[in-house]
């Protein structure tokens, strides 16, 4: 187990080093998210729907779409000159490869969130009050589920003829429970309801994470062992 985690960390660090050098995906994901906040604001009638009512939906829809930007890059990096073969031919286990890629994606998505959420609070004039901590918990739970499923489908989509077109089609149905749960829980928190009212949604997110982190980690070796 320690071996797997160490190898996963090596791979994640390598991915982050590449992303840090090029910064291409990170910048586009951040700009995409900020533009999304702006576009959504003007797409609604502010006299009919107040900004805080709009905010949860906007946040989590943008979250999934900007996540897709980063996820597509994840195995795109491995496809160039067949770097993935180098990983697969190494003694590192397939599970470690998956967890490493997923960990890098999680940090990527987390970093985009760390910029998008404060921007949302400012742009949409949200009463953050005492809800910052539970909101961060929702963000972490949502990101884990999104990254688990998205990393697996990114690995698959890159080997198909449709490549980047296929990823959203495969992944979005799986993001629906995440967006629903995170959006509804955020709405409860922002409207000043006690955290307990959001607990059913948090449990749903937690269950989703447990099931899909396990299922996707176990499924990944089947996608590479030809």
């Amino acid at each position: 187990m320690a071996d797997i985690l160490f190898a996963a960390w090596l791979i994640a660090r390598k991915d982050l080093a590449i992303e840090f050098r090029t910064r291409s995906a990170f910048l586009s994901a951040v700009v995409f998210s900020l533009l999304g906040l702006v576009i959504f604001y003007y797409a609604w009638d502010p006299t009919a729907v107040s900004a805080p009512d709009l905010a949860p939906g906007v946040l989590w829809v943008i979250f999934t779409f900007s996540g897709l930007l980063g996820l597509h890059r994840s195995f795109g990096v491995e496809a160039e000159d067949h770097a993935i073969d180098g990983l697969l031919a190494s003694p590192v286990s397939r599970e470690a490869i998956f967890l490493g890629k997923a960990l890098a994606n999680l940090i990527f998505v987390g970093a985009v969130q760390a910029i998008t959420i404060p921007a949302l609070v400012v742009f949409y004039n949200l009463p953050l009050g005492g809800v910052a901590a539970p909101l961060i918990a929702i963000a972490i739970l949502a990101a884990i589920g999104l990254v688990a499923v998205g990393t697996l489908f990114s690995a698959m989509a890159v080997n198909t003829r449709l490549a980047e077109l296929l990823l959203p089609m495969l992944a979005l149905p799986f993001f629906v429970p995440i967006v629903t749960a995170a959006g509804q829980a955020t709405a409860k928190l922002l409207s000043g309801r006690p955290v307990i009212e959001a607990s059913a949604w948090l449990k749903l997110l937690l269950a989703f994470d447990l099931v899909f982190v396990a299922a996707c980690t176990l499924a990944y070796p089947f996608t590479v062992e030809d």
Binding site: L10, E80, D85
Partner: protein, 246 residues
Amino acid sequence: MSSTLSAGGPARPIVVVAELARAFGARRAVAGVTFSLGAGECLALFGPNGAGKTTLLRVLAGLLRPTSGSARVCGIELPGGGLARSRVGLISHHTMLYEALSSRENVSFSARLYGIRDSRARVEDSLRRMSMLERADAPVRSLSRGMQQRVSIARAMVHSPQLVLADEPYSGLDESGARALTSLLQELRSAGTAIIIVTHNLAEGLSLATHAAVMQRGKFVRYDAADRVNVASYPATYRDAVAASG
């Protein structure tokens, strides 16, 4: 032309393959191959495109499962997991490098994947062997194709594999790169590494080999000890072997 190390009796077997087959759906890319290769031996594998050479190497590298038959690497039955893969070094015409990272970072990443703790000296040594030490910190993207291929070879050697699988390793190399590769492979061979080299250049392959095989339609259609091969007439032998089975 070719030297034999097997004079003092059979070498310790590194690769033992029996009736190995690998199919993709209905297509049998490798259709029953049997051979064995000992420490310090080198098999030169020739054959037309689509003969199954790359598939055979990928099975031995642990990238593909055998469909039937058996293959053992260092005594481990394939698919043998990480332990079998750790004994193998893979060179291909794809460099398997990350172009945003430097040569040093690429080789060092690989060394760590193979569990080499204190990798700095090993990485430097590997890069020096392929004369890439001076440009070790430039991103791979900025290197010429030939230089990238040198780094790729350094990457495959950093963990001192007992079996080297080289799929068209000379592609993209300039003359001095090719010389460096040849002398590296010679040296590995005398140190007891087994090598399988796939190439279209018969002379190049035979100069390293202790055994030569011609593959066609997934099978070995000719298999010789290299010291019995007449290098001058081998191109004709090769053509005949391919034509007879094609």
